[in-house]
């Protein structure tokens, strides 16, 4: 890639939008994943009784079971949300920048 084309892309208004949107979104989702996981670990460390209580009156299943499964599902769901937005919005922006340069 030549210096001119790098300059042309970095000056493109959509490029700044793409970079800042993707960066913000990526770190936001990373932060959410860390909150879910470390929140769960801290609950295991400090709120054992809460996780160990029955899910409903007379149940053997505890609150901790759906909470644990929710952390697993949230990991999958967050990657799905990222793919959805990246394959749509981010790829459209990239395509627009490429087309403008040609």
């Amino acid at each position: 890639m030549t210096i001119e084309s790098v300059d042309a892309i970095t000056r493109h208004p959509l490029y700044a939008e793409l970079v800042s949107k993707r960066k913000r979104f990526g770190w936001l989702l990373t932060f959410l994943m860390m909150v879910f996981y470390y929140g769960f670990i801290l609950m295991v460390a400090f709120k054992k009784e809460w996780l160990a209580q029955p899910l409903y009156e007379g149940a053997i299943t505890t609150v901790g079971i759906p909470v644990g499964l929710a952390v697993i599902i949230s990991a999958f769901a967050l990657t799905g949300i990222y793919v959805y937005r990246a394959n749509g919005e981010f790829d459209d922006l990239t395509k627009a920048i490429r087309e403008d340069l040609q």
Binding site: M1, Y37, A52, L69, T79, D91
Partner: protein, 575 residues
């Protein structure tokens, strides 16, 4: 190339000879070793035959360095997602986590979740950036705008250290497991695993490795799904009923339904969590898989599918472990004397072969001898897929980063690099067999944790800073990476698991009994070593006034453009 193409069949023939010898030996075999499991051996031989057939096909297509390292970049996102899952779900996690759930219930679920949460982080921060900037190895990305020789050497050394520890743990696990499942001698199992993995990688490169991983993932996921469904059938497909009966058949009763003793203090739990979360994003054999897809879109899809498959797999191991409490309690013949009293599991460790055998015994309980053979063969296949991926990553660190870039300074043709890659695979295979045999009697449990800690403390900080931080310089990356590596290794040696349990340092406890002791209270160094690496990268970069530093910083804009848009990356996987 013709010379290579036919030899897999000779090696297959050579491999079948030990089976014949063992079947004769099994009649007089010792009591600890299982009798030869014929069904398992037949199914495993079918698997080996199929994978060698694929390797032969792949060998015809492995002509360039790009074919060897990345299967020519032609793998789809879905295929790569399955292959990543096959690369990551080890026999240790299948057997170990279901065993932990069987013994401790809910704690097993807490433990398994830690192994999943690194995947979203890879997706959000690493995957498409890696695809857009790199060609064959993660060092391509880490060294993109820096002085090649120091950064590639650093990345190659830390990759090789990660691969070595991971590989030793896998080889020793393989030897013990196969001894138990197939009734083979330990050394023989290690040699079979080592030779097969060399054949896959040397002849079939990434194409064969990918398909071995895909087939293994398919077999493991379908086998575990069948087992979980067959087990749930016994409880009328009601999880509540499964939990209820499990509490009735476990000596721990209701305690297995909540957090137990796994997390003693939050600092250790968070440190392990950090190692798993950021270590996954620094494992060379995992990162390498992102170069096998054609573009950033497929790289994203890969992580999405991989996260789904791996998460689903951990849910299955949870069901398998929990249902096993009730279902294995119906089989007194599976337990040592006194471990099972009146249908209640008193000591889970009293299961014959240990708690690692839970999934295997459950396979026998729900599916008879045929299914037992199938699951045993799957466990063997699982090990092969993981060690093949590791060896290929190690070999490419040697041939692409050390040889082609650092030693030959880029003045090397593809044919020579490919040849070096194959020799490196052969050498790594021999080393893996040697270390596997040498470490038979050693405690290797800490080694996978150490591999993750090094990946999180050396590879990940350098990779992340090279992608996101304009200010990093060659000096900062080199010093930061090595300090992270050395800190992680040194602190691991000081832990109780290594200093006390492996090196034999003890101290008298309150009752005067000698117990293993560590020099530090941490079990995993990540909470210290990751920040130390980042601080060193920052400090030695901002104080860097060299000419090289100016080049490093000035090159960031162009790197960022390619990283964000993929412009200029299309040719990366080309020939």
């Amino acid at each position: 190339m013709k010379r290579f193409a036919f030899s897999p069949w000779l090696i297959l023939a050579a491999l079948l000879v030990p089976f014949a010898i063992v079947s004769a030996d099994a009649l007089t075999g010792g009591v600890t070793k299982q009798p030869l499991n014929i069904t398992a051996v037949i199914m495993f031989v079918i698997f080996v035959g199929a994978t060698l057939g694929i390797t032969y096909w792949a060998s015809l297509r492995t002509r360039t360095a790009s074919d060897f390292y990345t299967a020519g970049g032609g793998i789809t996102g879905f295929q790569n997602g399955l292959a990543i899952a096959g690369d990551y779900m080890s026999a240790a996690s299948f057997l170990g986590i279901s065993g932990l759930v069987f013994a401790s219930g809910y704690d097993g679920l807490i433990y398994s979740i830690g192994w999943l949460v690194g995947w979203p982080v890879i997706m959000f921060l690493i995957a498409e950036q890696l695809r857009n900037l790199g060609k064959f190895t993660f060092a391509d990305v880490a060294s993109y705008r820096f002085s090649q020789v120091p950064i590639r050497s650093m990345a190659a050394v830390s990759s090789l250290v990660v691969v070595a520890f991971y590989l030793i743990a896998q080889m020793v696990g393989a030897g013990k497991l196969i001894q138990l499942l197939f009734g083979l001698e330990y050394w023989m199992a290690v040699v079979i695993v080592g030779v097969l993995m060399m054949v896959y990688v040397i002849f079939g490169g990434m194409t064969a490795t990918t398909w071995v991983q895909i087939i293994k993932a398919g077999l493991l996921l379908s086998g575990a799904t069948f087992m979980a469904l067959a087990a749930l059938y016994h409880f009328g497909f009601s999880p509540e009923e499964m939990f209820k009966q499990a509490t009735e058949h476990s000596a721990k009763g209701l305690a297995i339904m909540g957090p137990g003793t796994l997390i003693k203090d939050p600092i250790n739990a968070i440190s392990l969590g950090l190692a798993l979360m950021f270590g996954t994003a620094g494992l060379p054999h995992i990162l390498m898989r992102f170069f096998t897809v054609p573009n950033a879109k497929e790289a994203r899809k890969s992580v999405f599918f991989a996260t789904g498959f791996i998460g689903y797999f951990y849910i299955l191991t949870f069901i398998i472990g929990f249902s096993a409490i009730t279902l294995l309690a119906q089989h007194p013949e599976f337990f040592k004397d006194g471990a099972l009293v009146d249908g209640i599991v008193k000591t889970p460790g009293g299961l014959l072969g240990g708690t690692n055998m839970v999934a295997i015994k459950l396979a026998e309980a729900v599916g008879g001898n045929l299914f037992l053979g199938f699951i045993s063969a799957v466990a063997f296949a699982t090990i092969l897929a993981v060690v093949s991926g590791l060896t290929l990553a190690g070999a490419s660190a040697i041939s692409h980063d050390l040889y082609a870039s650092a030693i030959a300074r880029g003045r090397v043709n593809e044919t020579t690099e490919l040849k070096v890659g194959r020799y490196a695979t052969f050498a790594l295979g021999l080393v893996a067999i040697g270390l596997g045999i040498a470490f038979e009697q050693q405690n290797v449990a800490f080694m996978v944790g150490l591999a993750f800690a090094i990946a999180a403390s050396a590879n990940f900080p350098v990779l992340a800073a090279s992608i996101f931080w304009k200010g990093m310089t060659t000096r900062g990356a080199f010093i930061g990476g090595f300090v992270g590596l050395i800190t992680a290794v040194t602190m691991t040696i000081m832990t109780k698991a290594v200093w006390g349990e492996t090196l034999g340092h003890t101290v008298a406890d309150a009752t005067g009994k000698m117990v293993p002791v560590g020099l530090i209270g941490l079990d995993n160094p990540a909470i210290v070593s990751i920040p130390v690496a980042f601080i060193c990268i920052w400090l030695f970069s901002i104080t860097d006034r060299s000419e090289r530093a100016k080049i490093d910083r000035a090159a960031f804009a162009a790197q960022r453009v390619r990283c964000e848009t993929g412009i200029g990356a299309e040719g990366a996987a080309g020939h």
